[in-house]
């Protein structure tokens, strides 16, 4: 059993409930015990770091202080929450730490959930429960921005061409396709005030995914998932195309590979149905 602290973040309590359910179930199945951080607060997201550098650091710093007291490594599924916690970590360990009221000594590690899953010890647990290879799924891995950039904050070693998700999905038997837009931006929260920007960015992603012959896009960030999944219809209309890309979380693929029954329920919460893809690949759930 691997014990870790867990920071779900606000959207996993709401619009990304599908991600939350898949994470919690799959972790339990592969022997990861998630301890939700007690009384965690919102990291402040883009709003806080846009309007107040200091408040943004403090919001995340409060969570880090709580996590360090809990004494276990901290796992964070949302890429932006992860990025904000890492920014606070650097601030609290850096030369200006006295400007903040919170303390963090760096005795625990802050993990991006995907990176956590890509450890050999977790893969070994998955291997023990492996039911069937995900043959017929031809995903491109879409990592997004925040889990890797900037490396001075995230401590990523492979920020221009991350490969950990590619390796994990290949390990699950999926026919992973390489592509050049792994870490290109989807526009994230611009979808509220500037959907025009998001539609342009996401259209380019779909166009490339189609050109390289992918039949689905796999993500590890719920903001990427929402922008690619919820607006696929509108983007098709706007650009006169007929893209069909189920947008799947990597945790859902892990669930499929270990024969988890609840996968179907999670997939039903997406807007673009994965049913034709799954049936076409002969992977009925």
């Amino acid at each position: 059993m691997i014990d870790v602290s867990y920071y779900p973040g606000c959207s996993l309590e709401g619009t990304a409930k599908d991600y939350k359910e898949s994470i919690e179930t799959v972790c339990e199945r592969v022997g990861i015990k998630l301890h939700e951080l007690e009384d965690w607060n919102c990291c402040g997201a883009t709003a806080a770091h846009s309007l107040s550098h200091k408040a943004a650091i403090n919001l995340s710093a409060r969570n880090l202080e709580l996590a360090e007291k809990a004494g276990m490594d901290l796992v964070i599924p949302c890429a932006l929450c992860f990025n904000r916690m890492k920014a606070a970590e650097k601030a609290l360990l850096g030369p200006y730490r006295r400007e903040y009221p919170y303390r963090f000594e760096g005795t625990i590690k802050i993990w991006d959930l995907l990176d956590f899953f890509c450890q050999d010890r977790v893969k070994a647990e998955i291997a023990k429960r492996f039911k069937r290879p995900l043959k017929g799924l031809k995903p491109v891995c879409y990592y997004g921005c925040m889990a890797n950039r900037p490396p001075t904050i995230t401590d990523s070693r492979n920020w221009e061409n991350p490969t950990n998700m590619d390796e994990l999905l290949s390990f699950l038997g999926a026919e992973v396709i390489d592509w050049p837009y792994k870490t290109d931006c989807c526009g994230a929260s611009h979808v509220v005030a500037r959907p025009d920007i998001v539609f342009n960015l996401v259209y380019k992603l779909f166009d490339m995914a189609e050109r390289v012959g992918a039949n689905c896009i796999v993500v590890s960030c719920q903001m990427c998932q929402a922008n690619l999944d919820m607006y696929q219809d509108e983007i098709n209309k706007k650009f006169n195309r007929d893209f069909y890309f189920p947008i799947l979380y990597f945790t859902e693929l892990v669930g499929m590979a270990i024969g988890e029954k609840q996968v179907k329920r999670w997939l039903n919460k997406h807007f673009v149905s994965a049913k034709p893809l799954i049936e076409g690949a002969g992977l009925s759930l």
Binding site: C10, S11, E13, G14, T15, A16, K17, D18, D39, W40, N41, C42, G44, A45, T46, A47, A48, H49, S50, L51, S52, H53, A55, N58, L59, R62, Y96, C145, M146, R149, P150, P151, T152, I153, W159, D184, C185, G187, A188, S189, H190, V192, A193, R194, D196, I197, N200, L201, M230, E234, N268, K269, F271
Partner: protein, 192 residues
């Protein structure tokens, strides 16, 4: 002063010094290689390229950079910061400029991006966590986007997505809060 005007600009380095002192970001290290603008995914929506913003800061064109669209279009994807050969945190600089513009009340009227951020922080201040449904309602009311959508019929698409979310169990009606709300209010007290 507009960037296009033909008049001579006498560089005033006091703005550059202020930016570097307050943001702790070394803007003067820019030698205009333009790598930031080449990798930026959202230049199509900007009025000035990121490298131009750096140049304007060098020249002391404070009004121009605080009034521009670019700082609000920046999606904070961190590509520029990651690739800058002189290790300038350009995305961080965009944040610093947004914060300064807000403090001075420049360029924030009818600025939906700014209003979204503000509504987000207001919601966060109430419970220590953000509730997406309330956040969106508040945003629609405050910006007048709700009225616009009613008029041009685009509310139908929003309703479709909202109902979809709701029936899929992804739109809880009740918010969750934290115990220590006071502490969060204190963190956020000086950003109004």
């Amino acid at each position: 002063m507009s960037a296009q005007s033909a008049q001579t600009i006498v560089p005033d380095y006091s703005f550059l010094r202020k930016v570097e002192f307050e943001s702790k970001i070394k803007a003067s290290a820019c030698f205009q290689c333009r790598k930031c603008s080449n990798g930026c995914p959202v230049t199509f929506a900007m009025d000035y390229y990121p490298d131009q913003i750096l140049r304007f800061i060098h020249l002391g064109l404070e009004d121009l950079v605080l009034n521009c669209v670019t700082i609000w279009v920046c999606a904070s994807c961190e590509t520029c910061t990651t690739r800058c050969p002189n290790e300038i945190d350009i995305a961080g600089l965009m944040d610093y400029l947004k914060e300064t513009a807000k403090k001075k009340g420049i360029g924030i009227k009818d600025n939906k991006t700014y209003m979204f951020h503000q509504v987000f922080l207001d919601d966060l201040k109430k419970r220590g966590r953000v509730h997406e449904l309330r956040l969106m309602n508040e945003y629609m009311l405050k910006t007048g986007e709700g009225i616009r959508k009613l008029k041009d019929d685009s509310w139908k698409q929003d309703l479709k997505l909202g109902l979809g979310m709701f029936t899929k169990g992804r739109l809880p009606l009740l918010p969750k809060g934290i115990k220590n709300k006071k502490e969060i209010r204190k963190i956020l007290e000086n950003i109004d």
